[in-house]
Amino acid sequence: MIYLDQAATSWPKPPEVLKAMTDVLESAGGNPGRSGHRLSIAAARIIYDTREEISRFFGVSDPLRVIFTGNATHAINLALKGILKPGDHVITSSMEHNAVMRPLRSLEKQGIRLSIAPCASNGTLNAKDIGRMIASDTRFVVMAHASNVVGTLLPVAEVAAVVHQAGALLLVDAAQTAGIIPIDMTAMGIDLLAFTGHKELQGPPGIGGLVIADHIDIAQIDPLICGGTGSRSESEEQPDDLPDKFESGTANLVGIAGLGAGLRWLKERGIEEIRAHLKTLSRALIDGLSAFPEVKIYGTLDPARSIAVVSFTVAGRHVSEIGFRLDEEYGVLSRVGLHCAPAAHKTIGSFPEGTVRLAPGVFTTTEDIRQAIRAIGRVIRS
């Protein structure tokens, strides 16, 4: 089997991640932040240490500014719904996933004003186009770091400069890039960063987070969910302390332990090395697919300007048939369709049919890619 659906979720996970998840249930199974006994404290320490590793990983100095959520979608909802008020203006790109688009469309009905900056058909965005849309009431610019459909990297640092000049905030959806592209929020000017644990951070599903830059006043963010935090228990009001204000209810200890192990594994492996490996695989995919005249490849076709996510269509064939036959006949696992990103497919010109998406990962080999290309050739020629 050749798993080329890493952009949906990474697989397999490093053995260290699985071990950390079983270990934590065996040795630290208390409820963190609730009781004062050793099992509760052991659990709280694992969570705190992971918080600390994440804050360092993303260039934020205070670990308490890492808010754990269920996934990136939850984190994006927290940032947008926690800050935006009716009358606020928001700008996003035309390459966004529904994790960004749907909360924005929902907020639009509640009175926020939404502008969508058009990207080119290869998914690239010009920061000046965002600049032209900024108005006096612009509160937020929210954008993906890279497209989940074609892998194109968006110019986060350039947009940050434009956004900050206007006194607005920048929220970045790093679901596709965290773990394969170095992200320093301070250096890049990211105010809020949503990440997920189960993709290239090598953690399990069900854990993600919102990282709030050191300079952001948290008083302006309302929690999505209120409830028990183990702190200030005398009060029936939600506490203002970080991270408790945004983390009501028992934490996903097992997920956090797995995420921590994933981060440590990544550090050992080296993000730069992983990025170089993925560029090689991406190049091999693009070159291999380019040999078939009936195949159309979307995106920049340049691994240096994209992450290793390659989308294609075959003239006269349905993507669902290609994906099904690749799986059934050759054990090549892809993802076909719209990838939860109708706006992106409209931008690249593949709506409503969608594309076949191939996303290799850190464990994918060049031989895997060679075999996948051979399988694709056989499927489209028969």
């Binding site: 932040g33 004062g36 302390d241």
Partner: protein, 78 residues
Amino acid sequence: MTRYGVILFHTTSSVLRAEKRLIKEGFAIKLVPTPRQFSSDCGIALRFDWNDHERITLMLGKGKVEFDAIRFLDANPV
């Protein structure tokens, strides 16, 4: 008999953050359940040797380590 004090915090995360910094500075501290006479919280606090209380207060202030209060444990040391 050693006389103890406790540092109280609002969140478990801030206790653990302070614990790391104080250990780094060489203080002998221990995580304990928050004494009920000081707080209604169900969480944890940092117990320390009361002889260190001035140095700890100074250090917490200088290091901008957020905490709720420092209390002397006059009876029933935990």
